[in-house]
């Protein structure tokens, strides 16, 4: 057991030199810019917030309907609707900075130059870290292409690294043959951490209309349905790379988060479940704390990667 005096915060975790007061982060695209949730929960309690994917210019997003339900999950095709980086810096960041929590800028683009430009612009603001969205399944051009191949992820990580003066988290897509080699490529080219998983491309059909429910036909699957895949990948990746791993996919409770952490995640992100319960992140934090209490652990590091495989 780690020896930590009783006054210290046992939920605290360090990722790429950033101190998170606890390992629970609102996942990009499910937490807006924090504003809406601040009506329901105290944002100061969160480990961090990864903001809605930002692009250089405002994006209108995809045609509605943009959301459909599946067993134990949802499908979305928002299409990266966002007000653009300038509006974020002027109108949203000052609001977010009022809270004592880590702010992660999730960025996306059509070409590598756009990612670099975003990294350059945002490096001069007081965001705390970047999350490269190289894996959004809902935009036709760009984005998804980079996350799918070792070459793509290597190139984009290497280029963005040059412009990025803050810790760089690369977000991985599960839609690849071997996520380990993609993670290694990110690490080798300068990523300070990886986060996973982004959504998985899926489809829901309205059998009466004989048409897909989403206007975009396909959408990204998230929620409890994807959790076992996400846990497996978190385990595989954390066994492979030395940089910290942030796990996500279907987390709805503290117990779910503990699974990811035992599998090797240093922190977790909570996405879809915020829609079901705006208090979800707080309940996950409390759940992790209860688990530590139950087994008498005095640090979160006592559970990270402590999974034992069956013989």
């Amino acid at each position: 057991m780690t020896n930590i005096d009783s006054n210290s915060n046992r939920l605290e975790v360090d990722i790429a030199g950033i101190k998170f007061k606890n390992p629970v982060i609102g996942a990009s695209g499910t937490f807006g810019f924090g504003r809406e949730y601040s009506n329901y929960i105290d944002l100061n309690k969160l480990g961090g917030i990864s903001v809605k994917g930002l692009t250089i210019k405002p994006r209108k997003g995809n045609k509605p309907p943009r959301i459909a339900e599946t067993p134990a999950g949802i499908l979305n095709s928002i299409g990266l609707q966002n007000p653009g980086v300038e509006v974020f810096i002027k109108e949203e960041l000052p609001f977010l900075k009022k809270f004592n929590t880590v702010i992660i800028a999730n960025i996306a683009g059509n070409v590598i130059e756009e990612y670099c430009e975003l990294a350059e612009i945002l490096s001069d603001t007081d965001i705390d870290a970047f999350e490269l969205n190289v894996s959004c399944p809902n935009v036709k051009e760009g984005c998804v292409a980079f996350g799918n191949t070792v070459e793509g992820i290597s190139e984009i990580t290497k280029q963005v690294r040059k412009y990025c003066k803050k810790p760089l988290i690369v977000k991985l897509t599960p839609s690849v043959m071997d996520i380990k080699e993609i993670a290694l490529a990110a690490e080798a080219n300068g990523a300070d951490a990886v986060s996973l998983i982004n959504t998985i491309l899926g489809m829901v059909i309205d059998i009466h209309k004989k048409r897909p429910v989403l206007a975009n036909n396909f959408g990204g699957l998230s929620g409890p349905a994807v959790k076992p895949i996400a846990v497996r990948m978190t385990y595989e990746v954390s066994q492979t790379v030395k940089i910290p791993v942030i796990g996500m996919g279907g987390i709805s409770s503290g117990d779910d988060a503990v699974e990811f952490m035992l599998a090797g995640a240093h922190a977790v992100m909570v996405g879809t479940w915020n829609f079901v319960n705006p208090n979800a992140c707080i309940e996950v934090i409390e759940g992790i704390e209860k688990y530590l209490e139950r087994y008498n652990y005095c640090s979160i590091y006592d559970i990270i990667g402590k999974l034992e495989l069956n013989g």
Binding site: E36, R66, P71, I74, G223, F275
Partner: protein, 266 residues
Amino acid sequence: MSLMLQEEIVCNRELVTGIYQLTFRSAYVSQNAKPGQFVNIKCCEGFNAILRRPVSICSVDRENKNVTIVFQKRGTGTSYLAKKRAGDVLDLIGPLGSHFDLSENYKNIAVVGGGIGIFPLLFLLEQKQCVHKTAYIGFRSKNYVVLEEAFKHNSHELIISTDDGSLGQKGFITDLLEKRILEEGIKGEKYDIIYTCGPGPMMKKVVELASKAGIKCQVSLEQRMGCGIGACLACACKIKLRDDWQYKRVCKDGPIFWGEEVDFDD
């Protein structure tokens, strides 16, 4: 401000086949809700049908702290709601969304509703004090007619139509509205505003008629929602700008919009 709430159900009954009227006790929602707003209800236990379901507020009893919603049984979520009984707990967030503009300047008003779109209009009629209130409500046939008495009680004039003519006047409710405001000129009077809620094509027609007659018009839009609180951007609706357009959020920027802002052809 909206809150996450656990409220007790007072009663839940089927009005006509497939249409349920559910009343719950809520000190907060009953005091704070404005016409046009909705509540977002958790309609499952466990992991199926995980998203909350938005349902408009149909009526509030501020004195007894009761709130009534009326919903149509359509799929998993509303079937779950239909089984709820008095004494059960309802997990909801509310009141949510924008509300109808009930400015005192509007003295002669009309509401135009079709199908399940009539319910938020009843709340409006209940709350709005003014010189003259006309309610136009349309149904598919007489078997679907609900809350006729409540509408009569809360308006000065009630006009009902059914598509098949089995009750009230035959045809679409917009046909009657058209006759009224364009042909008859409502006995020299003009509505100060028309509020409408119902199927898209119906609202589009109402907006066109209002525009032709130079009458203000507010519409209540619907869209599939993720969060219901403005964070996920799932509930997009197309809103016209001067020489462009943008997607706004039905849950937070709406559900109530000015008729001329909305692009119904998206």
